[in-house]
Structure formats: C-alpha cells, structure tokens
C-alpha cells in the first residue's frame, strides 16, 4: 500500500508516494535523491544515517517514511549556505576530522543537533553527542576537537 506524504526537506516541500516499509533513509536517498545521508548498518547502531527530524537527531533508518507527514527534515545537504560550507563543515576540514568521509555526514548532523543547543560545548558534551556515531578511520579525537571549535568558524 502506498502512502502520500508531504514533508519539508532542507526547506523544500516534498510531495511523494512511499511504501509502508520504506524508511526515511530510503526515501531521502532514492525518492528525494539526496545521497549525502549514508546507509551503514540499517539498524540504528552506526549513526551514518543521522539527520535532524524536527530539530532532533535521529537514525533515519529507523524512521518509517509513512509517518513523516508534516515533518521537517534537515540533511547534510541542507547545511550548505549558497556555495559556502557550514561552520561545522569548515571546522571538520580545518581539524582533519574527515578521512574516508563515510561517517562524516552523520557526525556533522549529530554535532549540529548539539551545537544548536550548546554553541560552545565541553569535551564531555561533544563526546556524548556523537556517542551514536561510529568512525573507523579517525579515532574520534579530531572530530571532537572540531565540534568544540566549530563556533570559531561562524554561527551554527
């Protein structure tokens, strides 16, 4: 059975038909065409699929598309300001917090959720914010430093 849902993704209204079993992750990548959000484990363990749903960080693999009517989604693509990178993205680059890049969209969205509440977080807060995001490359240190430093690169 198909459901018609209307939702806002990165400020743009999307009016789409979805299957009952499709996740938010599926429709972002396939229906809406935004592949910045990654499918890692598809079970809520790795955080690579993190997006903001009505301002809150969620694993998009565990949200059914059919329940999203009226929702606001922010993905990594939505952080771009015209052609300018978001301060968090600039901080990640400046600190060398990106290696293969697969975890980065999820990490940055998890960081955004934190920085929206606490623009200058402590190390503990930064660690807790990304406690649901796995990285196989960096060892996390530079990611945490980037998050604590992001406020120097502009307003979140």
């Amino acid at each position: 059975m198909k459901h018609r849902i209307t939702l806002t993704v990165n400020g743009e209204l999307q009016d789409i038909m979805v299957e009952s079993h499709q996740s938010l992750l599926d429709i972002l990548r396939n229906e809406v065409g935004l592949t910045g959000t990654k499918k890692g484990c598809n079970s809520g363990d790795c955080g690579a699929c993190t997006v903001l749903l009505n301002g809150k960080a969620v694993n998009s693999c565990l949200v059914l598309a059919a329940e999203l009517g009226g929702s606001e989604i922010l993905t990594i693509e939505g952080l771009l300001r015209g052609r300018d990178l978001h301060p968090i993205q600039k901080a990640f680059i400046a600190h060398g917090a990106i290696q293969c890049g697969f975890c980065s969209p999820g990490m940055i969205m998890a960081a955004k959720a934190l920085l929206d509440l606490f623009p200058i977080p402590t190390e503990e807060q930064a660690k807790r914010a990304i406690s649901g995001n796995l990285c196989r490359c960096t060892g996390y240190t530079k990611i945490i430093e980037a998050i604590m430093d992001a406020h120097k690169f502009g307003k979140s």
């Binding site: 079993h21 079970s43 363990d45 693999c61 059914l64 329940e67 406690s131």
Partner: protein, 294 residues
C-alpha cells in the same frame, strides 16, 4: 525488510479496533528503535504495523501529583525522561537510567512503553521502575486494568499483554520522603550497549548512628534472569539492619542467590554472578555516601 502495511489510528479506540480486526498479524509501533530492527532480522513478520504516535493521549505526558504520584504516558520519549526537570527532581533514578539507553538518536525516538513492552531482560528503564513500585495501566476493548510492573513480565521478550491490549500509562506512587535511589549499568561500552548486568536500588536510610540504619530497601537486577527481577532475599537481609560493611557484603551474596544468569556471549553465568555482588555493593556504598553528603 518484510513488507507490512502501515496504519495510523488517531485514537486509542481506533487502535483497539484495528487490533481486534488484525489480531496477531498486527504489531504496535511506538519509537520503532527495537521493533524495526527485529522485523529486519525476521524476529517478527507482522502484516500490519499500528503506529500509536498519532494518538494524542498516548504521547509524552508527565503528570505529577503529590497524592497520586507521577503518571507517564506510554509514548513518553526516553529523551523526555532523561531531561525532564520534574523527573530529575522527584525520581532522578529514572533520568539516570534513561540517559544510559542507546545514543542521542535512539533516545530521541525510543519510548518508555516500548522499553517495557520489549521486555528485554536487560531493559534499562525496568529496574528503576521496579524499585519505585511502579504500576502499568493496560487498555483493552472492555476497559482498563492496572497491575504492578513486577507482574508485567513473564519471560525474555514476553509480557502479560494480550494481543488486543495496549500499554497506556505508567504510574509511579509518591516515594517515601527520605528515600534515595541509584541505577548502575555495567556494559563493555559506555553507550550503545546492553547491560551485561544492571542494578537499581532504592533505600530509606536513617543516618543517626555510626552506620546508617536501613528502614526500607528495594533492589532490582537486570540481565541476570529471564526477566528483570526484584532481589527479594537481598532486600530482606537489608531491611531493619545497620549498614555495616559486613551486612553489605552479606546482602550482595543474597542478591547472587536471587539472580539466575545464563552463560551467553555477554559473559558466563559465573562472571555475571560476580558482577551482581560488585554492583550491589557499589550501589549501596554510593547511596550511603550520597546520604552523608546531603
């Protein structure tokens, strides 16, 4: 993932109607952080998912009254419990436990009702609610029933809920005024992990003497039995005693007797029994210390 139909009733009676129609072919959906994973792993193959999140009266509501205690609607998100000022003041043990669940992403979606109905032996919200003597309100077609949480679980992943019933509300009676609680969760990782052993303790202590005197004790253990359990003999060994190191050590041994862990990938039964004693002693020690600091 197996295909199911998604249904979104807007009232409890509509949800109950759907449960009557579809019976065991349907499963109730709240946060989905456990259920969707179970479906993807083929633990369940429901034909229908009945989403409760559009039902206003089930959504996050925390109502506190001095006489009746605190009522939490079943779909209160774990994140709401973690950050609620009221819960932080009145039942800090619940906020503590909520903060140990999963990750921020999981806590933003997972619900209290979901944690209870998942009925995992390791369920983090369960031991704190057990030591607070919580009750659950179950809504069925013919009316509601209210039972102690301690009667809710009947086995790993199994509750007394009939297929056409909905867990609607969790009720916590007013706590004793001079009580204090603690929740300790032991796992390999600090987050995103199940408890290998969990321990919640709620004590009412009298600090008049050299050692505090225990007026009331409630001890609950997770992951060391088919369901989370109250350690009845450990409680009996503690109530009415002065909390000397010898008594604490004895209580820990009784807690081991109350537990019945199995050997699995998380550890051997032998190891988990050792953990029970360690956690109980640590929890008691920390509670005594907190009391003196007050």
């Amino acid at each position: 993932m197996g295909c199911f139909e998604y249904l979104e009733p807007s009232s409890i009676s509509e949800a109950l109607q759907l449960l009557e129609i579809y019976g065991t072919k349907a499963k109730l959906l709240s946060g989905g952080t456990d259920l969707l994973v179970q479906i993807r792993h083929n633990d369940f193959r429901p034909h229908y998912l009945i989403d409760l999140k559009r039902i206003d009266e089930m959504r996050g509501r925390i109502i506190d009254s001095p006489l009746e205690g605190m009522k939490l609607s079943s779909l209160t998100a774990i994140f709401e419990i973690e950050t609620s000022t009221e819960i932080g003041i009145k039942f800090p043990i619940l906020a503590e436990a909520a903060g140990t669940i999963g990750s921020p992403q999981i806590r933003n979606r997972a619900t209290l009702g979901g944690n209870l109905c998942r009925a995992a032996p390791s369920g983090d919200m369960i031991p704190p609610l057990l030591v607070l003597d919580a009750q659950v309100v179950i809504q069925g077609w013919s009316g509601e029933r209210c039972i102690p949480l301690s009667d809710f679980f009947i086995g790993p992943g199994k509750t007394i809920l009939r297929h056409n019933e909905i867990l609607r509300e969790i009720v916590i009676p007013p706590p004793p005024s001079n009580g204090a609680g603690i929740f300790l969760k032991y796992g390999l990782r600090q987050t995103m992990d199940l408890a290998i052993a969990g321990c919640a303790i709620f004590l009412v202590l009298d600090y008049g003497n050299k050692f505090p005197f225990c007026q009331d004790a409630r001890i609950a253990l997770a992951s060391v039995g088919p369901t989370p359990l109250r350690a009845a003999s450990a409680e009996k060994a503690l109530i009415g005693k002065k909390m000397s190191p010898a008594v604490i050590s004895e209580v820990a041994q009784w807690a081991i007797q109350d537990s019945c862990p199995i050997s699995d990938i998380y550890g051997s039964a032998w190891y988990k029994r050792k953990l029970v004693a360690v956690l109980v002693q640590q929890a008691l020690g920390q509670l005594i210390k907190k009391g003196y600091e007050k």
